[in-house]
Structures are given as C-alpha cells and as structure tokens.
Symmetry: D2
Subunit: 357 residues, 4 copies
C-alpha cells in the first residue's frame, strides 16, 4: 500500500511529520493531492492540547490541490482538476444541510445536528497537512479553481476568508453601517475586508500589533484603534459620537473582546462572534441592557461547501479584495514543524504560512 | 387646574394612590381618559426599588381608554374615540424609528438610540395607572379599538401580548419548528400563544405552577414540563430525541432559565430572550459550543406603535387566540394598592389584574 | 428481470397501465415499493399533452411506500422502513442545493441552475404511479414516516402540502396579516391552511365550487368569495375597507387570477404565485402601480428534500392541520385510468384520489 | 406676503419660472431655503404631460438648502442648519411608516397605504425647484449635511442615490453575486454603484451611450454591454457561461429592458425593478418559467426619511462612492427652462444638472 507524508498529532505539544498509508477512496469520496495548504489558529489549539483530537490524526483543514482519484459514485469532476474544498465539509444530505445550516452537519449521521459537526478535516477525519487528503461527499465539496488563480491566491478561501466574510454576513451589514472589528489576525482582517465588501461606511479595526493595524487599513478599515494605548470602548464611542456601532465583530475568542464588542453596540445592533472561546463568557447586565436592548448575538462556524468556495474564488478573481498580503511565509511540508514553531509563537509578524508538499 | 387620581411611586416599597394635576396637552399629544389598565411585572420591580424611576412619577404603561383631548397638530383622530397605546411609544420620527427599531427610540432626542428609550410611560414620563394619561406623539401611537372588542379583551395588547408575540417573532419561528418556552407567566403564556400562531409544531412549556402549566396548554403548548419535578433540560432533550429545539424563548429573566434555554438549543437555533434580567449572565462554554454553534441570541423590548396595536387587536378580533383567561382579577383604581399587594405576591393564582378608574 | 405495473405516458390523451422492468439500483439510489400515491393537476397537463414528457415515461411524483433496496453508498436507512420522498428531489450536492434553492437543482448536472430542474419524478425520470419507484440521491430525499401516521395522512406531503405551505412561506406572512388565496383546489386549500398556520388573521378564499369554499372554511378561511357571483377584487377591497391585502396567493395559473391577486394587493404587499401558467402574463400598469408600489411577486416550485418532508409530517402528526378531507376517492393502481378520468374531469367533487398498488 | 421664484407646471409642454407666495409654516413643517436642486427624469414625464400633476404646482423633489424657519412643534433642529430631505417624505406616523414601508405612506391620511403616497414634493404638494420649499413632517425628514460636504456632493442623495442603491438592496445582493443592470442613466449608474458597494463580484452594465457605459465602469461595472451592437440577453448569458445572473436590475421602465432582465435571471434569482413604466408589461411564459422558477420580482420607490439621508451622506463622506461625475451641468434657477430643454433632450451627454437659486 502506497504511503505518504502527513503532519500527525502525537500528544499535546507534538505534531510531527510522519508516514501513513494513502487512504482508500470510497464511492462518495475524492482523493486530492495537496499542492498547498496552511496552518490555522485552531491547529495551534490542537498542538497545545487545548482542543482535543485523536492521537495519530492528520491535522489541517485548508486544502488546495489536484484530484488524484474519484469515488465510483462521484459525477461531474475529472481527475487532474485543480480544486479546493472548504474547511467545513457538509455532506449535502444531512438534516443540517437540508435546512440551510450545513456547518452543523451531524458528522456522518443522517439525523439532526451536532455542534461543529461539519468540521471534519483534522478534527474527526484525517486532514490535509499531508501529501494527500480524502475529501468526503466530494460532489458537495470540491470546487474547481479558475485557471487564472494561483494556489496562494485561493489558499485563504477554505477557512480564513469564509469565516471572516461569514462574520460580516451574519452581522447583516447594510450600506452605511458603522462596524467595529475586534482583533486583526487573519480572520479579523477578512472580517474587515468583508465589512468593506458589504458596504459598511465606517469600519473601526482594533488590535495592538502595528503590522496588523497597518494591514487592517489595507483591508478597508477607516480607523484603527490600538487597544494597548487607549481604551477601545471609549475610543469607539468617541469615534461614533456616543452612538455606538451597528455591528461589532469579535474575531479573537476572549472575554475582554467579547465584552467590548457588546459595550460598543448600539441598541438594536448585532454582535457577530467568530472567536473560538476557551472559557465561559459573561454578559454584563449593563452592556446587555438587562435584556431589553433589542440586541442580537450571532455566532458563526466557517461556512463550507463547493458553492461557497466557488463564490469566494470569484471574489478573489474579481480583484475586489486582495488577500495576497496575508501569506507572509512559505514552508515545505518537510519543514512543517518549523512552520508550527514560527506560527504558534507569532514570530516575524507572521499572518499565514503556505505549506507545499 | 383640574386634578386626577394617580398611582405614584413614592419610594422603594411604596406606590400610593394620590392626586396630581391633569396634564396639559402639547401639540403632538393626546390626553386619554383611562377606562382600564393593569399592573406589569416591571411595575413590581419599580415598587421594590429594583428598577429606578423618579419619585412622584405615575407608574403603569398599559393604557385602554377614550380620547379626551387632542393636541393642535394631531390629525386623523376624534375626541371620544376608544383607543389603546402601546407600552412603548415610538415617536415615529427618531433615528431609531426610521431604521425600524422604534422600541429603542432615543427618548426625546432626535439622534441615535438609547436602550429602552422607547419605554416612556411610567418610566421617563407619567404613566397610566391614573384617571388620565398623556400620550406622546399621538399620531404614531393611538390605535382605535374595534367596536366589537371590550376593554378586557384588548388589555393585553399594549405590553403582554406584544412582548410575548415579539419573542416568537424574533425567534423567526417557522412552520414545523420545535419550540421551548421557559416560564409561563403572562408574557411566557403569550410567547406560547405566539409560537402556536406562527406554526410551531411542537411547543414545550416550562414552569412549576400547575395553574400556569394548565393555562399553557390552553395557549397551545403540546407538552408541559414542571421544572420543580424534573430537570427541564433533560426533559426537553428527551422529548426531542436528543435533537434539541429550533427556538428557545426565555420569559423570566434569570440565569437558570437563560442557561437552560441555551442548553436545549440545537446548533443553528435561536434563543429569543424576553426576560428583564437583574444580574450579569453567564454563557457556559459547552452550552455556547465555544462560539461555534451558529447560535443566535436575540433580545426584544416590547414592540409598540399604532400599527402594532392595530395588528394585535385584529388577532384578538379574529378569535385565533383567547387571552381572556389571563385577566384573573378586577380592582378599582381606588384599590390599586391592594392590587399591587396581590399581584406582587402572586397570590390566588393571579395572572393579570384589570384596574378600572 | 422482474417486472412491475406502471402508469405510462403513451401520447397526448393516453396514460395507460403497462408493465416495465423494476429498475436497477445505483449506488446513491433507493428502490421504494409504492404503497400509496396520487394524481396531481400537473399529471393532467401531461395527459392532455400541455406539458411535454418523453413517451414511455412513468408518471406521478407523490410517493408513499417502503424501502425495498438501498444503493451501495446509502447510509442511515434500512430496508423495510416506511418512507416518503418529495415531488422535487434535490440532490443535496448541486450548486442550486448548496445555495438554498434545491427545487432548481440542475437535474443531474453539477453546475448552475435549471428552472424546474429539481422536478425529476414523472418529468425527467420514471415516476411513482407504479409498483416501484427509484428515488435518486436517496440520503437527501427519503424521509421515514412516523409510526402513528397512515399512508393517507402523509399522502399530501410530497407535493400539495409542500407547495401550498410554500406559497404562504414565500409570502412571508406575519402575525396579523390579511391574506387572499385565489382558487381552492388542493394546492389553494393547503395555501389557506398554511396562511392560517403562519398567523394570518384575516384569510379570504376565492373559488366558485361550493364544496371547495366549504373546505376552505375548514382549512382556516375567515371569508369565502364566490367569484361566479361577485367580482372578487371588489369583494376583497370591501372586506378590507379599501386597504387591500398584505399577501395574495395565486393557486391556479391563469391571467385572471394572477391579475386579481395583483389588484387586491396593498402597496408594499407580496403576490405569492403557485400556479403553473400556460400563457404569457400581463402586468397591468395601474395594478402594478407603474412599478412604484414596492410590490414583490414571488414564485415557488414545491420545496422538496428529506428535512422538508420530516417537517410536514410533523405538522400532520401535531394535528395542527387536518388534510384528511382532501382525499375524496380511493382507487387501485389497476384502475388508475378510471382515476385519471374522474380526476381530470373534476367529477363528483373530487379533490385528491389515493392510488394503491 | 413675501414672494419667491418657482418652476411651475402650467400645462403639458410648459414648466415656467414664475412667482408665488413663500409658504406659511405649520407646526410640523420646516421652511427650507433652497441652495441647490436638480431635475429628475420624472419631472420630464410631468413636463411632457405623461405623469399628471395639478396645474400651478411647483415641481422638483431633490432639495438641498438651509433651514429658514421651523414649525412650532419641531424639535431637534436649528434655523440656519444646512439640510437635505428625501424626494419621498414619510410622515413617520402613518400606518405605512409604522410597518416599515414609508415610501407608500398614505399621503396625509392616517390609515392604510397609497401607492406612491410618500412622494409628495412636486407631486401632491409644492416641490423644490424654487427659492423655498416647505418640508412636511420635518422631524422625520430633515437631515443635517456634514460640514465637509458640498451641496453638489449631496445633491444625488434625495432621489438618484437612494433609488439606485434601493434597487441593489431590494435585490438582496450578496457577496459574490453576478448582477446585470439595465440602463445606465443616473439611477442605473447608482444601482451599479450600489451593487458594487454590496459585494457583487461580477457587474454587467447595459446601455448604448458610450459616455454612460464609460461612467458605468467608473461606478464599478466589470463588463459593459452596448445593446445597440449586440443582443444583451445573449451577451450576458455568454458572460455567465449560460448560468444567468443572480440579480437583474431594471432602471429604465420599458418592456424590452424588463423582459431582458427576466430572461437573464437564473432560477431562484431576483429581478429588482426601479423603472417608472408607462405601459402594461408582459411576462413571457418561458422567461417566467411558467411560474415555477422560484423567481422574485421586486419594485422599489425611492426610500426617504432623515435616517436614509444620513446614511447616504455617510457613504458620500466615506469616499466609497464618487458620484461627482454625475453632475454634468450647472444652471441658475432663472435659467431652469433652458435646463429642462437640455435635460429633456439629453443633449451634450447630460447626466444631471445642478440648479442654484
């Protein structure tokens, strides 16, 4: 049985490059040869043991590659096509999918829903930091890459762009809205770009890293707030003449950012939360207006599926948004342990790393 | 200057019937002679000093009456007409109103928003537990009562029915949804009725008072859960085969009900919160799916305005919902202190009391 | 190769019961043994040659039955389960499905959309007026029947109820709306029931057949208008004090009903169209307010898929809506030609016929 | 009584500059001294007698000016403030306003709706092609101009920009949509800009005037189609690989553009219509998919009100959209007859003319 290299979770603190068999292709699957992939903040949570996965699992959920082999029941694709798949791989046929919530697809069960159930790669099945990845429910998930686009150009689509834009979309941003985005890591930067794309007129980006605030301006922020220098709630209320924002996007996953997002929200506004939290959250009575503020708090797990990927690649192709600057470093798959080291310590102003087998 | 009787907040623990001048009518106002009104749970919060209002303020925000005098700029009404006004009185011209969020009307300022700003009666201006009440922005707020309806029949419209239905509406209940409603006081009962009215197929009502659970069945609940006998989260998960509910409505305002509502929610579901909270709330990490459950939490302040009242009275007139059973006791205005005593202690299975001057 | 009986389109004017092979089961398919099915108005269009299908095709698109055999890639079902499938069978993986418009599924192509593409049974593939039917993309389409429900009780779910309710849903009916439903055939009756289920407060049903108007009252209509006796536009405007309706549902497919639906619509209202038209339509300048009435015209093709079917059966199980009265006649499959004769001539106050192999 | 100059409709073919009294200020009104206004295509319909208004009426509905005097009941503004008001002036208190459809405000009646009822300036009351205009329901309609913006910069807000953006908004354009805009006059150009602002990824603009097609590119069109050179339906289907567009915006008001917009629409897509039609329209059976295409057709009358104007001016201030190029000519009010002559004959590549008293 042919073997391949793969980045494997061994134990908390250790993700190593090792060998495992190239997977068998079931009738609904596609085997994709990875040409480029990347490391996500969630992978770092896995590395640190903060998010549990099975030992021996291949990590990674952002695949760019070429179809190597198609399952016997898969129609509409050809081997050799360049494709991506989303980080979240809805089956298309689950209850969750059929009621429009494919990200919560019940992970292999037909019935009902399971929180995060749609996230399979590098979570419940082998992921794509490897030479090959098996894409489940291939017809619902494979999206051909337009010829004009390079791997690096579409590398943000499977997760970062889909999640970040999702935050703007779930916020239901309208033309003329005032939007604050808390944290300008890759997802926050994409939320900033998404807010711009949907017609927000005043976008306020919050972070403390100068390089990230500078990138936020490139992504469409009108104002940047360095929370290490000023109180971001006060700064945002001052920028909005005390009115607050129509939509606040949380893109980090901590109590301070979640709470600040709530505090700057106008009555009737929406807090769109993208962060992955690791503790209980508190809704302060005043910020929550005792439950009488007509507020909405919405959370989003990265939307996936072939059509989502097609749309995001169309945005890239249109030139509306240039995410090129987000890929700051390149590594070979053989050097993925070094890539983890750089990325997990956020050295050298890293935003995203491209990994090529 | 003519004088009238009014229930006045004196200090925490004391709301007394006293006399004050019948108010002057400004150009946009209407003076309404009250024929029936009622006491709300919020009034009890005021009585207990848990919600602060100015000393000397007339309390009450659920007016049914007759137009006594119209402001000089008011068109479209005639003196002597039977009318109601909502508990929340949007101006129509504020920024909040013009962007569809009239409940958060900036309370007399043109600009922006103010949480609960649309709640004026018995909060920022004199209320309607009195012989007369001055209705601000009368054209936007007065709704003529259809001849066929009695005062008692429309007494729930200004607040209880508008808030309860609002919880079902903000939950965006769809045909076939499974809905849980936590607490079956008057607002929870109306939320149950609203869920039924919008096409929920399985409605689970939670309370512990047998009379309220019995009334919940009359309002449309398919199942009732006595939380003093069983764990409501377990009971609801069992009733839904582990799937959880599409929409959970919180109608009490406490951490246990809020948290239970979140715990029974399926991924992608909506927690529609109606309660008035008096403490910070906690979002438990697991129940909140670490922020990755595609959950929505929406809060609602009672929708007001003439058109809202017209619609609610049309529902009453249609016979679709019979809220008659909610008015369990009648008092004269002269006896309002006794009414407060009964209502605040929830004696004698009281749901709502009708007060007639 | 085993053979089965099937109702086959031979030529305009002739649908006959004949024999054909029981179909082979592909990896994603399920073979269902039909226990009950019915005839739709669309089948009559096919019979009359007004809607073209291939000669030799088995007609019928409303299957109730038992799983006989499952494709090799189908998970989550067992042979012997009682199931229904919708008239429209979205694949789950097409572009149309993945963007929430499964009814327009591209009929076997991965790309894009095709009007009516999701309608396959008795249109582009063999239908279910037969002893067996092959259900494509079985995982996305098979819905188990709750044990407590009979075949007759769920027979309206695959098409009539899904389409009729869809008209109410696409109209975005809200609590307190005034709704007119034009034509009270089976689909119009279900639209009436759907409007009631969503909280419409005044429902006006239009037809001319006394038995249908009587059934409309049972389905929830508050008023019925016999258009053979009065001008329905005038009657509806009179019933609404000249205001017009919030939502008008067209359930026949003719210029007069479409136009009347537009004429009774208030500015800002929605015309929800369910009819299958056979001619160009005219939008009269005045009724269309010269394009300045903030009107919406929405058309709906029957929503399908397993989750839709599950929800509709839940509505039936809840007892909210009793469609039992719609099945007015029963026939054996062997007598299907007689059933077509009765149904296509609308004799004997027929609404729907149940066909049992 | 002081007098002012005003452009008055005399009879079909004649709008002349004449004198009439400066109007009296009622309690809810504001008198605004016009500093800049413009001529709309609708005014040309009035001039030609195609749209009937009362003889002697002052025409014009796009006011930019300074508050001269405030009604006795108006709060929140000061005399001397620079303001605009929308072409459509919702009262704030009508039924239409209170249910979120202020453009259809019942024109001075409290009850119900009236198509185009919210359009009062130069339609049912004196307009603003004059030295002064009386703004009704001033609190709901006056919007202060940010200091940094010139009259010319906000001149498109009252109608052109609000209507054009409204077409994009009513189309519910989403990130990644393909949008076609038929006709690139001022409103079509703003629809193009609005589609861009909302995240459409491929925008196809149709016209035949080279200067307009060039301006369409500046407003955000990715492709332009000259319908005098090619069949626009074929061209658009070719550009979209046969898939059709997600949203088609009609911005002219003719059968050919309306029909072409329908023909290029994918199943499930939305035709957003902005045109003012002058004849009955035909929905061709095939283009309308016999009523089974899940299509939506939505019409929009210019959204008005102070908050709308505030938002549009915020868009201008943000620099997101530069409509400067739309004002191609300047005239003194004294020369307004010459301005009408130029504009109505569309000479000299005129797009919009600024008129200054």
């Amino acid at each position: 049985m042919a073997r391949m290299k793969a980045a494997i979770f061994v134990e908390p603190g250790r993700i190593v490059l090792d060998e495992k068999p190239i997977p068998e292709v079931g009738p609904l699957d596609a085997l994709v040869r990875i040409t480029t992939t990347t490391i996500c903040g969630t992978d770092v949570h896995i590395l640190k043991g903060e998010y549990p996965v099975a030992r021996g699992l291949t990590v990674g959920h952002e695949p760019v590659g070429v179809i190597e082999r198609l399952g016997s029941a898969v129609r509409g694709f050809t081997e050799g096509q360049r494709v991506i798949a989303g980080a979240i791989t809805p089956s298309g046929w689950s209850t969750a999918c059929l009621c429009g919530c494919g990200s919560q697809d019940g992970a292999g069960t037909r019935h009902g829903f399971k929180a995060m159930g749609g996230w399979k790669f590098g979570n419940t099945i082998d992921g794509c930091q490897a030479e090959y990845v098996l894409v489940p429910d291939a017809m619902a998930n494979l999206a051909p890459i337009p010829d004009a686009l390079t791997d690096d150009q579409v590398l943000m689509c499977p997760d970062i762009m889909s999640t970040g834009f999702g935050g703007a979309e779930k916020g239901q941003i309208r033309i003329g809205d005032v939007v604050a985005v808390f944290a300008q890591g890759p997802i926050g930067l994409c939320a900033t770009a998404g807010a711009r794309l949907m017609g927000a007129t005043t976008i306020i980006a919050v972070d403390r890293v100068p390089a990230r605030l500078a990138m936020a301006k490139r992504m469409g922020a009108d104002h940047v707030v360095d929370f290490s220098a000023v109180d971001p709630v006060e700064a945002i209320l001052r920028l909005t003449d005390g009115r607050g924002v129509d939509v606040a996007i949380e893109a980090l996953g901590t109590q301070p950012t979640f709470e600040a997002a709530l505090r700057v929200l106008r009555p009737g506004g929406t807090l769109s939360s993208l962060g992955v939290y690791s503790t209980d959250l508190t809704l302060p009575l005043g910020a929550f207006a005792a439950g009488l503020g007509d507020h909405t708090i919405a959370t989003t797990l990265c939307p996936g599926g072939a059509e989502r990927m097609r749309r995001l690649m169309a945005v890239v192709a249109s030139g509306r948004v240039d995410l090129g600057g987000l890929v700051t470093h390149h590594f070979k798959l053989d050097d993925i342990e070094a890539a983890y080291d750089l990325f997990s310590h956020q050295r050298d102003n890293v935003l995203k790393v491209a990994i090529t087998p």
